[in-house]
């Protein structure tokens, strides 16, 4: 179809969990590929790994700066894409790869892993470990509407994607501490418990109405802060939740 957007998928130091989450849209993924997306390169799903010119490049994994190929690939990804999306905690924040100290066979010298935003400009973040199939689906549909939709659809997609673009501008570090510094310390926490639900490693409990983090368990994926209704919330957008959900469902029929 002529109206498809071209998408590439650069796979760096990530566990393929993000790819699995994308694939876990099942029929939805097939509809995406069928109607909206021309997948130009993807190590596992397309068996093409050389980086090409695309509208949107999705990046899974962090960059090992001792791995010359990885460094070249992330730079080339940026040069050849209009929009770069950091998919998952590793690409966005380093996530579990932040804890790496090298010493692993067969490349023991590979010890320094950086979120991609430390080497290139990133446009959109999708935090979390793993990011959820539904979050990836919603962002894909919105990205398509932004590039190919009507004026009204573009406005909606802009509203939807703006907070994820602001997350990308905010920085390359994430931690449960963000809930402390950006929410509780700012007098914004109302104890709903979203952060505790979002945490993939159950590092957060709610004690006497406020989040309590077991910081040694935190893998730095960024899910808690991004899920918090007091990190970002567009009142106009969220008021339209029923219509937006219906539009996304209809798009994937």
């Amino acid at each position: 179809m002529v109206d498809k957007i071209s998408v590439g998928y650069t796979h760096l130091s990530g566990c393929t969990g993000c790819t699995v989450a994308l694939a876990d849209n099942y029929g939805g993924l097939l509809t995406l590929l069928d109607k909206y997306v021309d997948l130009k390169y993807h190590l596992t799903l397309a068996d093409v790994r050389h980086i090409q010119q695309v509208d949107v490049a999705i990046v899974e994994g962090s960059v090992c700066i001792q791995d010359k190929l990885a460094v070249e690939e992330i730079k080339e990804t940026r040069e050849k894409a209009a929009v770069v999306v950091a998919l998952g905690g590793c690409a966005a924040y380093g996530n579990i790869t932040r804890f790496t100290r090298g010493g692993q066979q067969n490349q023991p010298q590979h010890e320094s892993y950086l979120p991609i935003g430390d080497l290139i400009k990133v446009d959109v973040y999708i935090p979390g470990c793993a990011p959820t199939p539904q979050m990836i689906r919603n962002v894909c549909v919105m990205a398509y509407l932004l590039l190919k939709g009507t004026k009204e659809q573009k406005d909606l997609a802009t509203k939807f994607l703006t907070p994820l673009m602001q997350l990308a501008q905010r920085g390359t570090s994430a931690c449960f501490c963000d809930i402390m510094t950006e929410v509780i310390n700012q007098g914004l926490c109302m104890g709903c418990g979203s952060c505790a639900s979002a945490c993939p490693v159950r590092a957060i409990t709610i004690e006497y109405g406020k989040p309590q983090g077991e910081r040694d368990l935190c893998i730095k994926c960024g899910a808690c802060y991004a899920q918090c209704p007091r990190s970002f919330l567009s009142m106009d957008l969220v008021a339209e939740y029923e219509g937006i959900q219906e539009a996304i469902d209809a798009a994937l029929q």
Binding site: N138, M190, C192, G193, S197, Y208, G209, M235, V238, I244
Partner: protein, 299 residues
Amino acid sequence: MRHSSEVIEMGAELGKYKTCVSARSSDKEILKGAQDGGIVTQLFAFALEQGIIDGAIVSAASADEPWKPEPIVATTKAELLAARGTKYNISPNISLIKEATRSYGLDKIGIVGTPCQMQAVRKGQLYPVGLRDVGDKIALAIGIFCMENFPYQSIVQLVEDHAAMKLEAVKKMEIGKGKFWVYGKRGQVVSLPLKVTHKYEQPGCHVCLDYVANLADISTGSVGSPDGWSTVFVRSKKGDDIWAKAIAAGAFETKPIEQVKPGLELVTKLANEKIEKNKKTLEGRKTFGVAKALRNPYI
């Protein structure tokens, strides 16, 4: 970036709704321990019985501390009945929303919460960052009117220090007619002027611009209706469908909201009071320091 003063337009203070009525449960047993009209308990009991939900996240009483709410997944009417009544402090109901689909295995979740918790539910559906396979399992989200909430320790302070009652000896708490009411099991009643309670409020409540849970499927609260009745807003398609079934099954007695006192006029007044007050707080946050702002959560 939008200015906070533009976030809520005038006339939008009650949110979108399809119908609004004054209602109470037609089940005597539910009404007996209900805060007002027993709407939440009755709706969940009906939805459970009909298979509309598999269970509901509600605020039960903590086993360890009196009047401390503890979110639970209720899957029987007995559990719902045990959780009746308002506990005026924070119950982190959203903390169970993923777990309800995991170890409890629910495919159709009911959840009750304050307006901010309904915002969390809808954000979780639009941006399910860490909520895999949760969003489409929310079958019924009931919102409760909320002016503000309190930390548990504030309730201890208010009841034990200001009202001089033991929390264990309290039968019911209520905010109404400009006062915080504490009813003792032996029949004693103490009321505190809200002037006393204000400083104990949860700070995070002061940036909230929603009084009547605009984002719930159905929202309810005592304000606007006579004693023993509740005001009910039916908002979403899902809510409309479930409410129609509950009415057809005779689960509720209803009266047109136009025919009850004090009616929607009071709801509108209180909603605007809350929104105006908190807009001022948001405005003040912009110039809180010297050329330094506190963070605005609304973008």
